[in-house]
């Protein structure tokens, strides 16, 4: 359970750590959108270089990012295989019944894999360098124009921060419960599918019961401290736009425009 690196915050003081969460959110979304425009060697080169530059600016070793990718390894393999066998067209290298490995299949598999890795890495930069609560604050601030349409932005942000806040707590708790059930002779990850599904019950039920109890306690504690839905509240953390944010924005906009430019005007 502790080995999951994806979605975790790693404290630091790097360029990326110091950026405004709003800037990081906007740049990540822009990057992910532009990944889908990249279609040849040069555009992918720019995207990769931009990503590597961001990784370096985050002052977290590349190895840690790679480890973050490992849990998704099988998903990647699966996606690539689907593309390889079901992408049809171009020169056929190998055929067995309805399974065909063709040039276009291989191309699109490579493309998908590249996109997959880039998108995951860029979101990993965001989560590695930004505290979950900062992300929630950033989303709230970015969504604030929707308040005019009476969209409950503050409530949504609260739900988001509560949910994010309790991910590690629930994971710890799941681990504790698993240890307790292991001590009572449960073998996790052994036996057939039926057996495995049965071993989930002794984890899920206590986990749910505890999560509900905790939710009730939190809402009581919040009400005791005067929380009321829909009130305008002030923030402890003020989001400030700094020069690093403007500089990053400029770098991203130039590189991403180059990618779109190469795709449409070369």
């Amino acid at each position: 359970m502790n080995k999951v690196m994806f979605g975790r915050f790693i404290p630091g003081h790097s360029w990326v750590h110091r950026m405004d969460p709003r800037a990081k959110l906007v740049l990540s979304f822009l990057y992910i959108a532009v990944v889908f425009f990249a279609n040849d060697f040069w555009t992918y080169l720019i995207m990769t270089l931009l990503l590597l530059a961001s990784v370096v600016a985050s002052a977290i070793p590349l190895g840690v990012y790679i480890r973050g990718l490992l849990p998704l390894f099988w998903l990647m393999i699966f996606t690539v295989l689907i593309q390889v066998f079901f992408g049809v067209g171009g020169h056929v290298y190998w055929q067995w019944g309805w399974l065909v490995v063709s040039q276009d299949g291989l191309n699109s598999a490579g493309l998908i894999l590249m996109r997959f890795v880039l998108i995951i890495l860029v979101s990993t930069i965001l989560t590695f360098t930004t505290e979950p609560l900062e992300i929630a604050d950033g989303i709230e601030s970015l969504l604030s124009p929707l308040k005019k349409l009476h969209f409950p932005v503050a409530t949504l942000a609260l739900m988001l921060s509560l949910a994010l806040r309790f991910v590690p707590t629930l994971m710890d708790e799941a681990e504790k419960i698993m240890n307790a059930q292991r001590s009572r002779g449960v073998d996790f990850g052994e036996g057939g599918l039926r057996q495995r599904v049965r071993t989930i019950v002794p984890i899920l039920i206590p986990l749910f019961v505890n999560a509900f109890n905790r939710a009730i306690e939190i809402s009581t504690a919040m009400e005791a401290r005067g929380y009321q839905d829909g009130e305008n509240r002030t923030k402890y953390r003020q989001l400030k736009w700094h020069r690093v944010d403007t500089a990053s924005l400029v770098i991203y906009v130039i590189s991403l425009s180059a990618v779109i430019g190469l795709r449409y005007f070369s």
């Binding site: 080995k3 419960i177 240890n179 292991r182 001590s183 002779g185 073998d187 039920i205 505890n210």
Partner: protein, 292 residues
């Protein structure tokens, strides 16, 4: 057959090889003798809980060896075939009521033995016996564990571990959050199990009175190291050292030190209330004690 637990040069790192790596146990050497009552004390975060998770191989040492009975556990030990250990060493975690999940109390207590191949009927009989052992009324057996009070739920959870019929019983703060009566009942249960069934007991606690009253061996943990081990008398003979490590004294010993300042004399510092009384009475001026 007696199960003893031996640690040799045990180190444990949480998340070894990541930026989050924490050195949680440092060069631990210790031995838990069969039939002994060992108390593990130390501040929060001193490594007590990490230590006991090595007792039934929930954690494996990053380096060094842990020997449980005739099984040797090292970093290279595979996760399979550890089940026999789990039966030998019963583990009652902090707030064990959080592990309950079955529809009825009796099913929950019988869950453990059934995992070890005991038939449903035998497990239910065992569950009934263990429920009686921990003082649960028979009328509660068919109720849902989630309808019980906190104290009752804890007894159900403890019965669920006892139903494995372990040789060593490890308890991580079993009395936390209980009222004084609940606390003394749990402690009496633990002592009775040791005396009647010869169980080896390992108890993590912050209650120095429990250490003084029940333990015959004390392990003091601090910052992942084993700071001191010995008899309760040896451990509590150095109040200055204990204070340095933010640990307290049993209430009888504490009172004795205060009385000493006021001119009382003690040949040997008392650990239990009865010992304290025995030493004070002869020193009181004649006529100070009146029986009414």
């Amino acid at each position: 057959m007696a199960t003893d637990i031996t640690f040799e040069q045990v180190n444990y790192w949480y998340q070894a090889g990541t930026p989050f790596a924490v050195h949680a146990l440092k060069d631990i050497n210790l031995k838990i003798k069969p039939g002994s009552f060992t108390a593990v004390i130390g501040q929060t975060g001193s490594g007590k809980s990490t230590l006991i998770q090595h007792f039934n191989a929930l954690l494996k040492p990053t380096s060094g060896t842990v020997t449980i009975g005739d099984r040797v556990i090292t970093n290279a030990t595979k996760n399979k075939h550890l089940k026999p250990l789990r039966k030998k060493v019963g583990m009652v975690f902090q707030f064990p009521e959080n592990q309950l999940f079955e529809e009825t109390v009796i099913k929950d207590i019988a869950f453990g033995p059934q995992n070890f191949g005991v038939s449903e009927a035998d497990a239910q009989a065992l569950a009934k016996r263990m429920a009686g052992e921990v003082g649960l009324d028979e009328s509660l057996l068919s109720r849902s564990p989630f309808d019980l009070s906190g104290g009752q739920m804890r007894r159900v959870a403890i019965a669920g571990v006892l139903a494995l019929e372990p040789e060593v019983l490890v308890l991580d703060e079993p009395t936390a959050g209980l009222d004084p009566r609940g606390r003394s009942e749990i402690m009496q249960l633990v002592t009775r199990l040791r005396e009647e069934q010869g169980l080896t007991i390992v108890l993590i606690t912050h209650q120095m009175d429990d250490v003084a009253n029940y333990a015959d061996h004390v392990i003091v943990m601090g910052h992942g190291k084993l700071l001191k081990q010995g008899s309760p008398r040896a451990i509590f003979s150095d109040p200055a050292w204990l204070e340095d490590h933010e640990l307290g004294l049993p209430s009888a010993t504490k009172l004795a030190y205060e009385l000493q300042q006021g001119g009382f004399h003690f040949d040997q510092m008392p650990l239990k209330i009865a010992e304290l009384a025995d030493q004070i009475v002869p020193q009181l001026p004649k006529g100070a004690i009146t029986h009414e």
